[in-house]
Amino acid sequence: MPELLASLNPGLLLIAAGVLCALLPQRQIRQALTVAVPLLGLVLLMQAPHGQNLAEARMMGLDLILYRVDNLNFVFALAFLIAVLLNAVYAMHDDNRLHDGVALIYGGASVAAVLAGDLMTLFIFWEITAISSVVVILQARTRAAYGASMRYLAIQILSGVLLLNGAAWYLNANDTLMLPGQVGEGIDLDGPGAWLLFIAFGIKAAFPLLHSWLVDAYPKATVTGAVVLSAFTTKLAVYTLARFFPGETPLVWLGAAMALFPVFLALIENDLRKVLALGLVSQNGFMLAAIGVASDNHMQTALNGAAGHAFVCVIYMGLLFMVTGALIHRTGTAKISELGGLFRSMPVTAIFAIIGGLTLAAVPLFSAFATKSLIIEAVKSSSAFWVWISLYAASAGVLAVGALKVPFHAFFGRDSGKRVDEAPFNMLLAMGLAALLCILVGLPGVIPGFGYEVLYNMLPYPEAARGYKLFTASHVLTQLQLLVLALLAFMLLRRLGLYPSEKPGLVLDSDWIYRRVGYDLASWANRVWKKAGPAMSAGLNRGGARLYHRIEAASSPQGQLSRGLVSQSMAVWTAVILGIVLILTLIVAS
């Protein structure tokens, strides 16, 4: 029995439970399942041996490895299972079996995808995450969500098609579909196949200009849906990039751009969930930059940083999305211009917002400080000065999300006059658990079993992580200097009246290219075709008719060419000559 359990992929377990939940009308049983199954999954994952193929299959002549745990994917799978658990608790106030089921399927497919040992298995679960997440977005049942979900689906399917083509190339080149064996090994970014894989992963990781599906769709989901969406897709892509492309230079620059530019947009954005989506892109940028510098002697620190930051990011971004969800649940809006002063009604949620914000800003004693420091350290050792500077600027800039928007403008600042109830108990419980994790993973390891060292021991290279001294006076001082002085800049500019006020409105993003320019081009082409089409058919008809009349006038039995003896005898002679040629050809050929 233990052997059978050891070969049971927790992701598949979650998917099966998800299908069951979607069919199960009894609320209590269903919600008990949504909590119990991820817990069971956690147990299964914890006791799975590392570096072995735990479940294999053979299909269409391909060897598939359905379940394989190693030092890299363990921490991602762990983060996903914790997220599934927290999301289930967060959604308990709502009796929606489709949401409960699809959330489990989506989380399960993500877990199964990171635990896959070959590209075909990865592709299958890659697509299941795309389809199940579209159902999560559609749950909002609004016109905007429908449009966003269709754009989202198109882009996700594009990513899947590219992945499938890349996988075919990979099979052709390597004679196997197995993922690169050793952690940190990867493949070289040369040849069209590697680029196909790179872009397929990049779309889901929200590369610059390919990120708008995320900022477009997440804010349009339901309260619970946005929390579910925030956890999985982009982190799955971060994992695949860490698996396939560690040390590839393009990732360094893409990561630095991703970390820095979204914070500029976040500062002027009015929709809280859009702000968080931009913050999420920025945090993924840090991970990609770390994966990009993962070579030579800082490879271990870099991959530790990327994997660790992905783990804590799933939890603190989840926490911030939960906080915003609670605000929407109670006030009915996520627009900052309509919020403000809500600590009066929701003080406990405000505390969780502050904890989430402090973690996002990587304040010492909170979890992100432990992991972002590893990333900064790796970038520093790689001597990439401008990347290092960009990441520091992004570290200050992320305060726009983690300090200004979520805690300050929503809960403090000017009073909106809204007096509502505190968030429901299950939401507070989920937020409390997430906040607790943010703190427990950030503390120095004074109490055994707590503190950042627990996370460091689970990273791809535990020895390298343990060798890194986190709480040095220099690390703490520089980080506090950066954040405190950055906040001071905000306070000063606000006192001077130079802070741009919160205004309602929509901030354009790169989806403008297809939603406006592309749409306008298509509708222009449509208008042109509506006029040109009939004109062209009429012209063609007229031309055809004229040609027909000319031919008829010449060649019909009453036509010019048929009149007179010469034409008649010519026709007879032509037939005779043709007949002779045919007979001669037959004789020669035989």
Binding site: A144, F264, R344, A396, S474, A489, M491, Y499, L508, R516
Partner: protein, 128 residues
């Protein structure tokens, strides 16, 4: 744009009066009990100034901390006194001030793409 303009704003969404913290004290009865003890102090008339000068003091102390700590720097620029503090101040200042330009260039009406929630849809979703 939202259909209803809140009473304290003009039609562009700007706050008309900059005065705050004049929430009537009797409104405190409507607050969550924890709110008064935890965050009540933030509504005090002097709280913003106190917070600001507290941060100034904290920032100054942190920069002075550079006198005591050796950063073992990798890049030349890190050797500058209080580099991280000044960098954070300038970087975030630039990001905030860029908001004026970006807001002017990129901010559009909420129904720019024609998918903003109509009043009818809102009523329907609230009913749900």
């Amino acid at each position: 744009m939202s259909d209803v303009i809140p009473p304290d704003r003009d039609e562009t969404g700007r706050f008309v009066s900059a005065k705050r913290s004049d929430t009537p004290t009797d409104d405190r009865a409507n607050w969550h009990p924890l709110a008064r003890s935890l965050f009540g102090w933030t509504t005090g008339a002097k709280a913003p100034a106190l917070l600001f000068w507290g941060m100034v003091l904290l920032g100054a102390l942190l920069i002075l901390g550079d006198l005591l700590v050796d950063h073992k720097s990798k890049f030349e620029i890190q050797n500058l006194f209080g580099f991280y503090g000044f960098f954070g101040f300038i970087a975030f200042g630039v990001i905030i001030l860029a908001g004026w330009l970006l807001g002017y260039l990129l901010r559009r009406d909420e129904d720019y793409y024609g998918d903003a929630e109509t009043a009818q849809e809102r009523a329907w979703s609230e009913e749900r």
